[in-house]
């Protein structure tokens, strides 16, 4: 494929205070669905935020579709961690999803009808159409996560960066997110997701980046998502039980 990669990172280093969180990462996300996997504190979220300019990078360059973010912002979407906002905020689910359309609106005045319709459509895709006018604080955790997913969809981006989309969600939400991921892939869109459940990586994603501050392995799931690579990434931190699960799913699902 001659088209530039959706996301490519060269020599990216990010540090909080003295401690480097992302160390000299050179990696590019191929088209399709890609998972970023690694132990807690491995800098997975930090890597995503650094590519979006939300945390300052010490060094390195980031390219989306071969261009700096500034030039292709409308092609990049973002699903932050659910816990990153105050859900007691006075807004309805539809209000939140409409925020995805703000860059396409003038800075003053109400949300134009076609953007509200796009937001409603995104809520339909995640199965939340009936909750459009519900106050976000009165939604369950999984429903809140789906509202965030709808907001990312309403951005109508070619690449969506997702930070722990499956964290602490119910089965219905997990199924809804998987459906959305597959639809995105089928429409030629790309997803890079920080993922915490090793067992479902082969089922949900085609490519994987194993990260623990630096890159341990990257490539197609069936090639690099091996117990040896995972063990190296997690060091001694991978519990025996988890290792057995990964081994089983890699053997069965690869």
């Amino acid at each position: 494929m001659s088209a530039p990669e959706p996301l490519s990172v060269t020599h990216l280093t990010v540090a909080y205070g003295e401690r480097p969180a992302v160390w000299d990462v050179t990696w590019s996300a191929p088209p399709g669905l890609t998972a970023i996997v690694g132990p807690n504190g491995a800098g997975k979220s930090t890597l995503l935020k650094a590519t979006l300019g939300l945390v300052p990078a010490l060094s390195g360059t980031v390219r989306f579709f071969g261009r700096p973010l500034e030039e292709v912002r409308d092609r990049v979407g973002y699903l932050p961690q659910r816990a990153s906002v105050d859900w007691d905020f006075p807004a309805s689910a539809l209000d939140v999803v409409c925020m995805a359309r703000y860059p396409r609106m003038r800075w003053w005045g109400p949300v134009p009808r076609r953007h509200r319709e796009a937001a409603r459509e995104a809520l339909v895709q995640v199965g939340m159409a009936d909750f459009a006018d519900r106050q976000i604080g009165k939604l369950s955790g999984g429903q809140q996560q789906r509202v965030f997913l709808a907001r990312a969809l309403a951005q109508d981006a070619d690449l969506v960066l997702m930070d722990e989309p499956f964290a602490a969600v119910d089965a219905a939400t997990e199924a809804a997110i998987v459906t959305v991921l597959r639809n995105l892939a089928a429409r030629g869109r790309h997803v890079v997701a920080v993922h915490h459940d090793l067992g479902t990586v082969p089922e949900y994603f085609s490519h994987v980046l194993l990260l623990n501050a630096r890159v341990f392995a990257a490539g197609p799931v069936k090639d690099v998502f091996t117990p040896e690579n995972i063990g190296a990434t997690y060091g001694a931190r991978l519990a025996l039980l988890e290792e057995a699960r990964v081994g089983a799913s890699a053997a069965g699902g690869g």
Binding site: L54, V76, Y78, V85, F89, A91, P103
Partner: protein
């Protein structure tokens, strides 16, 4: 102030009302963006600016009572105060709350020192300056009130215009920044609005209390609604009423500083909302907690009465038609005599049981409710036992905790056969 309906008083009243209106709307976003303390810093930091402006005006020989230079000085000093807070925070050695406390007190101390020094100087440079600390609307002239009103209207227009952007930044600034929205400009706009409201409120409310006019109406409105447009409207209305009423109180009783009167009225609204707000208010929450507890105890009572009949040999499925001793209910639940009698009285008032000679008899309605409670309890018990999540003793106690709020579809899943009433997995009677 004899004729309190004079032209001047009317203008002052209108000015304070508009000021409250603007403070309510700006305060809504200040509160949601977590800028309430910054507003406090702006107010306090304004004092040295007022003093220095008065000194300069006096040195130049102009009218020291002219308001615009004093307010300009206040605005500049307020902004410097905010910049100082940001600078201190950026060193990463002092956290923001501490930085605000430091700037607020240092600037205020500088202002107090400057004022004392000004008072020791010959001439009238200090005339009326201490009014800025606590506010004295009665001292306002019509043109001062017009200025405050104009600033307030401008704030109102800007907030309504930039509503979407302000909301986006207040809810999720990172997401807005990622989209390429200039969140720094939106934050700057909000900061500018806060400074404008603080400065235009200096003369009426005073610099110490002007923060209250930003925070109290917004917090009151937040208690009353979950919708941002409605919250804006309620905050504006609360602020306007507090501003107008406070100014009027202070105009009729000159010994009462306007700032104190305005803030007390606003605080009254907040307390009323805190107590009586539907849904979020303390009274509504207390009532709903009480009702939940009463419903739980009702179900426990009915189930105990049902099971007492089963234990007396009524057999599962046919119980509900005999007299059960109240003492047996009390023993099964571990309730005091007083409590069990109180509940029996309550249930008889609701028509769920009939009472006679220390016994209760379930009415048809009571029997149906009791059967439902028994079913729910045993369904949860059997489920917990089948899942291996508990032994027989703890399944009973765990079921007591979760059975009450059980939605019908979940109860149906736990107990697929609606006509049967399973036997209790444990012996009935006194609890261990």
């Amino acid at each position: 102030m004899g004729g309190f309906l004079s032209y001047n008083t009317l203008v002052v009243l209108a000015g304070c009302t508009l000021l409250g209106l603007a403070a309510g709307t700006v305060g809504t976003f200040a509160l949601l963006r977590g800028r309430a303390l910054v507003a406090d810093a702006v107010g306090h930091a304004a004092l040295p600016g007022v003093a220095i402006a008065a000194l300069i005006v006096a040195t130049l020989g102009a009218d020291p009572r002219a308001l615009p230079p004093l307010l300009a000085g206040a605005a500049i000093a307020g902004l410097l105060g905010v910049l100082a807070v940001q600078g201190l925070t950026r060193t990463r050695r002092i956290r923001e709350d501490a930085a605000i406390a430091i700037v607020l007190s240092s600037f205020y101390a500088a202002g107090v020192a400057l004022l004392s020094w000004l008072q020791s100087l010959p001439g009238a440079a200090q005339a009326g300056l201490s009014k800025f600390i606590l506010g004295q609307a009665a001292a306002m002239r019509a043109e001062d009130a017009t200025l405050a009103a104009g600033v307030a209207l401008a704030c109102l227009a800007l907030v309504l215009g930039a509503f979407q952007r302000l909301r986006a930044v207040a809810f999720d600034a990172d997401f807005a920044r990622m989209q390429g929205l200039r969140t720094d400009r939106t934050d700057l706009l909000l900061l500018g609005l806060i400074v404008l409201v603080c400065v235009s409120g200096l003369q009426a409310v005073g610099l110490i209390l002007v923060v209250a006019l930003l925070v109290l109406p917004a917090a009151t409105a937040r208690l009353l609604t979950h919708r941002l447009p409605r919250m804006l409207g309620l905050a504006a209305a609360t602020g306007a009423v507090a501003g107008g009423a406070g100014a009027w109180l202070s105009a009729t009783r000159p010994e009462l500083p306007t700032g104190a009167a305005v803030v007390l009225v606003a605080a009254l609204f907040l307390v009323a909302a805190l107590l009586a707000a539907p849904g979020r208010g303390l009274i509504a929450q207390g009532v709903s907690t009480l009702r939940r507890r009463l419903n739980t105890e009702t179900e426990h009572f009915l189930r105990a009465a049902w099971e007492a009949q089963e234990a007396a040999g009524a057999g599962p499925g046919t119980a509900g038609d005999r007299w059960a001793p109240i003492a047996a209910v009390a023993a099964a639940r571990g309730w005091s005599r007083w409590k069990v009698r109180r509940l029996a009285l309550w249930l008889s008032l609701r028509g769920l049981v009939a009472r006679a000679e220390g016994h209760v008899h379930l009415t048809p309605r009571g029997a149906a409710a009791a059967r439902r409670a028994v079913r729910a309890h045993r369904a949860v018990e059997h489920h917990l036992l089948a899942a291996g999540a508990a032994d027989i003793g703890s399944a009973d106690r765990l079921a007591d905790l979760v059975e009450h709020g059980l939605p019908p579809e979940m109860a149906a899943r736990l107990l697929p056969e609606p006509s049967t009433l399973p036997a209790s997995p444990h012996a009935l009677g006194r609890q261990p």
